[in-house]
Symmetry: C2
Subunit: 238 residues, 2 copies
DNA sequence: AAGACAATATCGGATGTCCCACCTCCGCCC
DNA sequence: GGGCGGAGGTGGGACATCCGATATTGTCTT
């Protein structure tokens, strides 16, 4: 089967990825369903195993499939890990140059969160507020212990947009949250102590509870401005 | 160099990707700069060439590097192609099942665009409006010729958010625009004719020119509702 | 009879090697 | 002097082979 006529196409890999995705669609596989083994796939697609593996790794990175060593490959639930990975790299690279990408990355998160806040606030129910309040309290508890938890911060933002009921959107926001934190780490030692962060989130919560999305957005902005200034200083120092 | 102690890590590939990214950062490479050849990289990272290639392909998919056959590998400018690819697959897969992901994908685009519209409208200058008007006219010209151009549609949306001055954000919006159109294609034959689309965009332009972001958002929503209904029907038919 | 441990089967993970395809550039020939 | 062609280098691809991880299964112990 192998070693057939050479196709003129510049890149066979692209086609291979599509073939694999088509195969998944054709066989009506759902998330969690197993794919054929690498050897079977390689044989049925008429390519070498290494070539196939390159495609599979790419598909894994795209969040299409999940590879479990020694067990098999499966259709994966959506995940944006690769996106986050790539963007964080982008940000780091940018910080070593003109900082442009880092600022834009930050800008995306800010635009997304402030843009979506009104809708989230409007769709918020007492139950949502309750959960958001818990997140704030958790943040405050950690702050009292002098700890600075990125996970708790992320959880607050997650719950902030829970009312929208869009899990994919949540993941996307999570990605930019991760990127934000990474850039913050790279840009220099944290200047904000945990207590201040907790207090800020408490204020945001209050604004949300009061249904004032604009105020909440303004509060969110403060954390961005600080980081932007730090990035500006970092870049200027070169 | 090869065959050193086995690392306990579950996956070496992940580490390899990080190593390559670190190498780029350490050598202070910028976008467009060439990377070492595959053989050099494989040797200096102490892995086999095929293993290295898998990582490189993933990095390419993440938009970190650009690979030009027969020429070399280069640090790439940011691009979200892989993201679009993965999400379009997600949408197609979803349409064959419960349609949930497809709806959420649509929801993300809608949330993003309506959420960002106020800021875009506020930041819009006469120059921006001018360019937006041109896009509308182009759309209308095509409509008169009976043509239905996805590119012209995309261009309109691109110019809509140009005032925000965030290229990365533009690319991200572009991704969800692509995903939207793909889902629309997959969900069934277009029910909207080019003239209606052009007319709608004209109305959106008018709203933007009038500084009425809310109205523009409402107009945008109409295209989403139609598609949602189509998806609902498609899924129900199973 | 039930649970823990060990052998094994089944995958994916990694490598080295060989050859092909493609691009670029330099030098030759017209 | 300009265009064409080949040489060299670089990525693309295919095997064959061995390593490593994981789940399962079967047996041994309690």
């Amino acid at each position: 089967m192998a070693r057939q006529a050479r196709y003129g196409a510049q890149s066979r890999l692209r086609a291979l990825q599509s073939d694999i995705m088509d195969l998944i669609l054709e066989r009506e596989l759902e998330a969690g369903d197993p794919l054929p083994t690498e050897n079977e796939l390689a044989a049925s697609l008429g390519v070498g195993r290494n070539t196939l593996r390159e495609s599979l790794k790419v598909l894994q990175a795209m969040g299409v499939i999940e590879i479990r060593h020694g067990f098999g490959m499966f259709v994966a639930p959506t995940n944006f890990d690769a996106l986050a990975e790539g963007l964080m790299f982008r940000g780091r690279l940018s910080l070593r140059q003109n900082g442009e990408d880092a600022l834009q990355l930050l800008g995306i998160r800010q635009a997304l969160e402030t843009g979506l806040l009104p809708a989230a606030v409007a769709a918020s129910t007492p139950g949502h507020l309750e959960r958001l309040a818990e997140a704030v309290e958790h943040l405050e508890q950690l702050a009292q212990a002098g700890e600075h938890s990125a996970a708790a911060d992320a959880e607050f933002h997650r719950r902030l947009f829970e009312p929208l009921g869009n899990e994919l959107l949540q993941q996307l926001l999570g990605v930019f949250g991760k990127v934000h934190r990474k850039i913050q780490l790279e840009a220099g030692p944290a200047t904000d102590d945990a207590a201040a962060v907790a207090a800020l989130h408490r204020k945001i919560y209050d604004a949300v509870a009061a249904g004032d999305a604009a105020a909440a957005g303004g509060l969110l902005a403060s954390r961005f401005e600080e980081l932007r200034a730090k990035i500006g200083a970092l870049v200027a120092g070169r």
